[in-house]
Amino acid sequence: MLARKITAALASAVVALSLAACGSAGDGAGGGGEPYVAIVSKGFQHQFWQAVKKGAEQEASKRGARVTFVGPATEQEVEEQLNMLTNALAKQPDALGFAALDSKAAAPLLQQAQSQDVPVIAFDSGVDSGIPVTTVATDNKAAAAEAAKHLAEELGGKGKVALVVHDQTSLSGVDRRDGFVEWMEQNAPGITVLPAQYGGGDQLESANITKSIISANPDLDGIYASNEGSAIGVIKGVQESGASGVTVVGFDSGQAQIDAIRNGQMLGAVTQNPIGMGERLVDAALKAIEGQRLPETVDTGFYWYDKSNIDDEKIQAVLYQ
């Protein structure tokens, strides 16, 4: 009987280990001489981060390097990200790619990286510190202004627009809100901008917010959504409320947004270049390992895309499904 109990209790360990074993078979455990870049991202399962991961892996295999890519489940899990950063440094990587959820919280660990002589490359949003050798990122404010410009043009410079933003605490949320609002204030005096609403980037939440905005403002002309989840939610919300004459502009890509742009539910969107971000991140890391000097920032660019140019090669290359 005791034997049975022990078997049962130790089974947990066995399950973990066998799964770990089959898991590791898929991942390149090959050490050797190839440079190793550990990447700690702000997120993981979101399509955008998967595209960054893909770009990083493509570049790594092209250049004969090895990368690992981890990130917390949500962009609120600052502590979890620090644990991931600690574990990444324990593996003694040759370079570290890092997208900080909170720069100050990560400062002691970045100092540790510096003392271990591991060059740090910040990506996506800047790390507020002198340690990273460069920052590989999108200019979110300029990208949001681009969306504002296209929406204002479509509305002929007058009307009432609303914003559904994914987050009021993160730098990207704030920049994408302020970039849009500031452009409208300076360049489109005829357009009334309603106060921003926040849906956490959650599709359902953003859809509900959209519906309540529309019922509170029957004369609404346009809505701007600040990331993929918000945009999908806004499209759903407009659809469900049955409102017509509301022009939607969005951010990032993903199949749902691409479809909405093709069938006219959405005017267009600003896309970052996540695959390019991953590629340039690894490129910068490898250059840093070789001891090359890098510019302070590497702009990964953004593009406006709509029905007219969605099939262009240049656009297709940066969209993710």
Binding site: A16, A73, Q76, T86, A90, A105, T169
Partner: protein, 332 residues
């Protein structure tokens, strides 16, 4: 009257017997911890090192602290879903006390911990007096705490940059000349206090007693209502402590964090052999449960296991741990 008194003593004794039986489960959980650690030590050259072990202990502090408090609630037959966002709220309160109001450390930190007790007190009142099922009462508190944390912080992190010594609570090294973060000492201290209270005091005895048979406990003349409130309020202090520990580690109170921590803490409690149906469990078990989760997270990341698989493995471990617990219960 005497008859009911006897039944109270019996149920208290049942509690003590289960403590003894819990020993075996603890031992097995501990054996699992050793086996998993041994595996990672062989599998990765980076796992077995002093720095990595302190990193694992360090990463256990917040979940471990939450899990210790929740152990009381779960042994008493309840559940507390508000600990994650409650922790975020206490972190924000710590910021309000220390940064906004400017209280000295020696007042602000206890105040933040007591605020956690207040959250627990309200939970206890809702469960014991208003008779709202614990799952619902604490689910509601989870939302209230999440919202309040955002309201009180204006939805922005509160930084402790100007509060001298605050981050030392977590990242400082009290032990001279040793790289051993204070946070781990706090966790061990909290665990020791909790273990003594659970096994050696009236509070602990009634926690087991209410969890194994609430009716009998009430019939024996114990004021179950009052003790339940006390148990939730006491467990709440650990929500406050966790709030202080996470904000001291991060150097800031992050108002939007915390969601999901409650499930990890409950998982740690369950892996450690505490029964979700109440009446049995231990602090040592909970601590080991929390360590198993941290060791798995750390080891799988150090082995560069793809992240998708890490949660699959963690989920399987929880399943097996709970199943083991069921087998054990059937046999006793």
């Amino acid at each position: 009257m005497t008859a009911t008194k006897v039944s109270a003593r019996e149920s208290a004794q049942t509690g003590l017997v289960t403590v003894a039986k819990g020993r075996l489960q603890q031992l097995l959980a501990f054996a699992s911890l050793i086996v998993i650690s041994a595996f990672f030590s062989v599998a990765s050259p980076y796992f077995f090192s002093y720095d990595n072990f302190t990193a694992i202990l360090f990463s256990t502090v917040v979940i471990g602290t939450l899990a210790i408090g929740t152990t009381f609630v779960i042994i008493a037959g309840g559940i507390d879903l508000s600990i994650g966002t409650g922790m975020a709220l206490c972190a924000v309160m710590s910021g309000v006390f220390l940064v906004d109001i400017g209280l000295p450390l020696a007042l602000g930190v206890p105040a933040a911990i007591l605020f956690g007790g207040l959250i627990g007190l309200v939970n206890g009142f809702n469960v014991a007096v208003l008779k709202i099922p614990p799952f619902i009462a604490t689910l509601a508190m989870m939302l209230v705490a999440q919202g309040l944390a955002l309201v009180l912080s204006d939805s922005a992190p509160i930084y402790f940059t100007d509060v001298a010594g605050y981050t030392d609570i977590s990242t400082g090294n009290l032990l001279p000349g040793v790289r051993f973060p204070n946070a781990v000492l706090v966790l061990l201290g909290a665990a020791l206090v909790a273990a003594v209270l659970l096994t050696k005091t009236v509070l602990g005895r009634y926690t087991y007693s209410i969890g194994s048979n609430e009716e009998a406990t009430a019939l024996s003349g114990i004021n179950v209502r009052r003790w339940k409130i006390a148990i939730y309020a006491f467990a709440g202090l650990f929500i406050g402590l966790a709030g202080v520990m996470i904000s001291a580690r991060l150097g800031s109170a992050q108002p939007a964090t915390g969601m999901g921590y409650e499930l990890q803490a409950i998982a740690a409690v369950v892996i450690g052999g505490t029964s979700l149906s109440g009446g049995k469990g231990s602090i040592v078990g909970t601590l080991i449960g929390a360590l198993i989760i941290s060791v798995l997270n750390n080891g799988l990341q150090i082995m560069s296991i793809p992240q998708e698989w890490q949660n699959v493995i963690l989920g399987c471990v929880i399943l097996v741990a709970v199943y083991t617990d069921m087998i054990r219960k059937k046999e006793t």
